[in-house]
Symmetry: D2
Subunit: 277 residues, 4 copies
Amino acid sequence: MAEHHILLMDGPDHKGLIYQVTRILFEHNQNVIRNDEYVSPSGYFFMRTAFSGDVVVADLLQILKKELPEGLNLRINPNKKKDIVVMVTKEHHCLGDLLIRYAFDELDANILAVVSNYNILQPLVSKFGIPFHYITHENRTREEHEEAILRTLDVYRPEFLVLAKYMRIITPTFVDQFPNRIVNIHHSFLPAFIGANPYRQAYERGVKIIGATAHFVNNHLDEGPIIAQDVKSVDHRQTASDMATLGKETEKSVLSKALKLVFNDRVFIHQNRTIIL
Amino acid sequence: MAEHHILLMDGPDHKGLIYQVTRILFEHNQNVIRNDEYVSPSGYFFMRTAFSGDVVVADLLQILKKELPEGLNLRINPNKKKDIVVMVTKEHHCLGDLLIRYAFDELDANILAVVSNYNILQPLVSKFGIPFHYITHENRTREEHEEAILRTLDVYRPEFLVLAKYMRIITPTFVDQFPNRIVNIHHSFLPAFIGANPYRQAYERGVKIIGATAHFVNNHLDEGPIIAQDVKSVDHRQTASDMATLGKETEKSVLSKALKLVFNDRVFIHQNRTIIL
Amino acid sequence: MAEHHILLMDGPDHKGLIYQVTRILFEHNQNVIRNDEYVSPSGYFFMRTAFSGDVVVADLLQILKKELPEGLNLRINPNKKKDIVVMVTKEHHCLGDLLIRYAFDELDANILAVVSNYNILQPLVSKFGIPFHYITHENRTREEHEEAILRTLDVYRPEFLVLAKYMRIITPTFVDQFPNRIVNIHHSFLPAFIGANPYRQAYERGVKIIGATAHFVNNHLDEGPIIAQDVKSVDHRQTASDMATLGKETEKSVLSKALKLVFNDRVFIHQNRTIIL
Amino acid sequence: MAEHHILLMDGPDHKGLIYQVTRILFEHNQNVIRNDEYVSPSGYFFMRTAFSGDVVVADLLQILKKELPEGLNLRINPNKKKDIVVMVTKEHHCLGDLLIRYAFDELDANILAVVSNYNILQPLVSKFGIPFHYITHENRTREEHEEAILRTLDVYRPEFLVLAKYMRIITPTFVDQFPNRIVNIHHSFLPAFIGANPYRQAYERGVKIIGATAHFVNNHLDEGPIIAQDVKSVDHRQTASDMATLGKETEKSVLSKALKLVFNDRVFIHQNRTIIL
């Protein structure tokens, strides 16, 4: 993470946008380290510019907003680790992977806490000295449960929530608190096999390839923008249970790959699709 | 294709089945070249045994049927190329690949003829000296069209029909003429994106991986047993049209892989899944 | 190939290069359709800019050269198909694939002729109405053979030579005639298994993955810049001959992928590596 | 691991071998759960038979040895976890993965201890309550260092040694103590890029794919039988350091996959190749 600032910009395309932005950075003695842009077929512009140099970020942002056409979204992110909270249920494979990476400073994020509706993974989390909040959903309505979680999250104020096999449906009310800031790993190669027991479904359909999908969460279950996907080959010898085991490997690596992209400010969202620069 | 005979056997599992079969072959001086078997979790047995030796196949089959438990399906296939007819519409990528392989004797099948509801691919087929039957669907009901095709197929009596991008729905009546003998290449990673314009659907859903599926055709459209699947990675830069181009590459290689398995008698069908030995 | 012009630029990085180029294009009413750039860790700059608009290309190039820092390589390519000659020996798999693509206008290149040191593939090439030059290496020294080929190539003046399984070593003298303009498909996952019979080597080493490599040819055999690579999984059941069959599939698709990149002006070469924008 | 016993058998092929083995198991009331066999092109036979039933294993083995042709290697393994010691140097990625799996009983092995020539990974290992032996190589000859390690291993008597990024060359004397019982993860797609800093080599060669190899260790460094390999795509934007990061992911998953095969008695070794049944 050697880049000093990340300018993120998206909006309707205008002739000369790259020119205007690079001119302004040039005139303010900023050194462009890496520049990636994309214009969609429908004429929507995306740009991620990593740059370094002495500058008051707020002032530069002001100048950019003034000199560039209206209607553009502009942000300048500092080059620092994101603060996150991880939510889990009972499965350890994704969480274990995140904890090991975090312990060796490879996650590009600070895990502020782990929240779970079971206490099964508490011993694992404790090994790494991270707060674990066991918030059961038993004897609580869905709303009460989510409120309890939100009260806990309020203490940590995470930039991103990572659902690392959190197996509860979350409500639009909850999602609205973290717009485009919740990343989920889905136990399937979306859009196939939505719903319960996808590996059983995959087995019964006799597929030759299974996969996993990391995506942002929006109000439509399993339908948020896809960040990363990967697959593994299977054959008839694999039972539904074998497929589940193999699927976990894929979930682990796909989530890790997606988080790296998100935490490095490389993911734009537009019309329910991701643009990754 | 150096194996002399292929014994194919499936049915409810019994203790000692492998022993009984290998004993009978041993006692009749047959040399087992390769033996593959599989027992499903529900107790269904599959075995493919390649063997060589002087033997009257019909007699051997009789003996096997007599000495083995009842209720088993038993076949002994000669080790020879399958006779096939290829059906296409307008797209050339799968057909072109099959023709080149056939021209250089790599297909493990004889292409007896190509049937199409358009005459677009006639020039290509003619280069390879194979009969091309243009049977338009215009001014014909679906039934009339299929009957015309069936009359043509009747001349060739193919063992397998290969739908190499044949873009017409076929009726149960037609399918019934070729039970488990029609192989289709589907322009999607089944079970996702069934229906028209799958690459447009894939683009709009923003998937990061697209694929293709080769499967047997049964009476439920797109739901026959899957033989082979493969995928390719895509990103936001690919338009629906780019995805279609890339998808064709996948279709071509997946169909080719599936046909090799089918033509070498390696594919069993059971409960709408394939067992590939 | 809807882009009208492709500006290709590489050289030592300077602050503001993107800004200067986009400014000049903007001032001359050119519309940037797609812009990709890369700066290597050692500070070397690469940019590919697709743009459209009414312009006299030679004049624009003059202006760019005048206004940009010295030491940059600058080209503006028209958006047209490349002229190529394909060289082969006895194997048909790559050639067959190129011919089918060419026949259906999918190659982004014109195949002017096919040259071979055997006449085995003449019947295939003839089906497609393309000149076939059989230039045997028998009773000729290597130099005499290459001179004969060069005389033939001189008639066609191809922009690129494609070695689609041309199994003769070519000399530096020959290579020098086509600097960075010869693309070869190598029957191995370079840098492993250089030399004769790579699939036998792979089999004996018991590898679990085999691959193929498309690369530019330079004076060091098998060591030119790599354009594309791909692999397939194998296991102990595959003989060296099976691996060769599977390897051909990979060769075919890797060569096709590499040529698409080259013919679309997307490949830069720098310090024996390719930069693909 | 529901199978009760695993019969492993290899040797020169004889007509009727499968028949003889299945007959003997049948006559002794053993139920064959899964049977896999392979005959190499050179006529060497391999078979792995999982079976269950009440039996005195030593007696059954005696009978098999008596009734089957001479010259066969025969073992019957109980269906139990292997005892292993893991050896590491400084890198945590493979070890971390093994520890998480072990903690959740997914490794099919007991980690008796971790041995390292550095103490860097001691804190990680301690979290999981496993003995960590720091045995420095400093101020010791290679022989003295290995003797110190062997004395430690002698206490644990592991069935397998897992080199999970142990970065010291081990001598033939050491290897001889664990014939075909040491599994190493190699930071390269063997046989390419043998030696130091493979990712730097890969970067400089400009490869488009990198990989990792898990193999048994024999006396020729990096040349033991390959168990598993996998690859990931890279492009010019990846620095040697990025490639190393990506390579670690591959190392982690390849080692895990190979160990699962080894610990489940699925790997035979013959003429420096593995046969995986």
